[in-house]
């Protein structure tokens, strides 16, 4: 990653225009040509510096639902359970964490009922309880990490 890549990562976290030629417009602010910005974004995605590029939808506002869920998975069983959890399309992301509650994932479904259904499916497939931890209140969400040298 060079300084241009860092500038791109920082700028494109803030937003990307909705316009006919958005790469040209975003590139102009960065001093980059349209083709170069497209090529660099493609490479940042291929290199996994960026995990996504596009609209970030809020499932709740599309009539869907989101819930954080956690499990306590015995270490010896961890890979099997991870595969079973990840197999559900409702699992949007999944992290291993160093705690007795060692598997943390987000369920994203189109309906509120879908959350309970997906959790029940995971419990049946793994034989382990799923602890649903939906949010009661959101105080702040502003993930914006500076890419620095």
């Amino acid at each position: 990653m060079d300084s241009v890549d860092r500038a791109i990562v920082n700028a494109l976290q803030q937003g990307f225009p909705v316009s006919e030629r958005p790469f040209r417009d975003a590139g102009a602010l960065l001093g980059l040509g349209e083709d170069e910005l497209i090529a660099r974004v493609r490479r940042l995605l291929e290199d996994r510096v960026l995990t996504r590029f596009g609209p970030l939808y809020q499932a709740e506002r599309l009539g869907g639902a989101y819930a954080l869920a956690a499990m306590r998975v015995p270490q010896a069983d961890f890979e099997r359970v991870a595969a079973a959890v990840n197999a559900l399309p409702e699992v949007a992301h999944n992290y291993e964490r160093d705690h007795e509650f060692n598997m943390w994932f987000v369920l994203a479904t189109e309906t509120l009922d879908g959350i309970a259904r997906a959790a029940g499916q995971i419990e049946r497939n793994t034989g382990l309880p799923v602890y649903l931890m939906p949010k009661r209140e959101e105080f702040f969400v502003g993930l914006n990490l500076a890419a620095t040298a």
């Binding site: 909705v18 497209i38 970030l56 939808y57 869907g64 649903l132 009661r136 993930l143």
Partner: protein, 166 residues
């Protein structure tokens, strides 16, 4: 509790746009027109609907999501706190405004296994840096926090966006 989030009622064209873009935007000069071609509407229509979804909060933003590990933020500490229900709304707002807290929520607890109701995500480059910041949060919460833990992520097992299907 929150006031209910305003709901955006997507029609079939909105849903087609969501399905076409939830994996990401096409990396071409006219991405919104490319999406339009894919779902048989004009690029202008795609842009107008995306703008409306942004305004309604159905799209949080359009842009890039970095892999925080790749940016060197390898110490991703989820600090969790058992905070007095009476004070959690007020204290959650204060903690949420700290510059190093990237997400902050009150969540449903599961006592006795999981007593924690306030979640504050702290991203930093080292665990020491996370611990310093967690100490700062502890000072803010004071006696209102009865217990705490910091959970570090050790592996991404899956990471995809929202998945809608037709």
């Amino acid at each position: 509790m929150n006031a209910p989030a305003p709901r955006f009622a997507p029609d079939s064209t909105d849903r087609a746009i969501v399905v076409a873009t939830q994996g990401g935007l096409p990396l071409v000069a006219r991405p919104y027109h490319a999406i339009g071609e894919q779902i048989s509407v004009s690029g202008e229509e795609v842009m107008a609907r995306l703008a409306r979804m942004l305004e309604a909060g159905a799209i949080r933003r359009i842009g890039a999501v970095p892999n925080h590990y790749a940016l060197g933020y390898s110490a991703n500490g989820m600090s969790v706190w058992d905070v007095d229900d009476e004070h959690v709304a007020r204290l959650g707002r204060v903690v949420g405004e700290l510059p190093f807290v990237t997400h902050c929520y009150e969540r449903v607890r599961h006592p006795p296994q999981w007593p924690y109701n306030l979640f504050a995500m702290v991203h930093a480059r080292t665990r020491d840096e996370v611990e310093d910041k967690v100490g700062y949060i502890a000072a803010i919460l004071g006696d209102a926090a009865r217990a705490r833990a910091v959970l570090y992520s050790t592996r991404i097992l899956k990471k995809t966006g929202l998945r809608l299907t037709d």
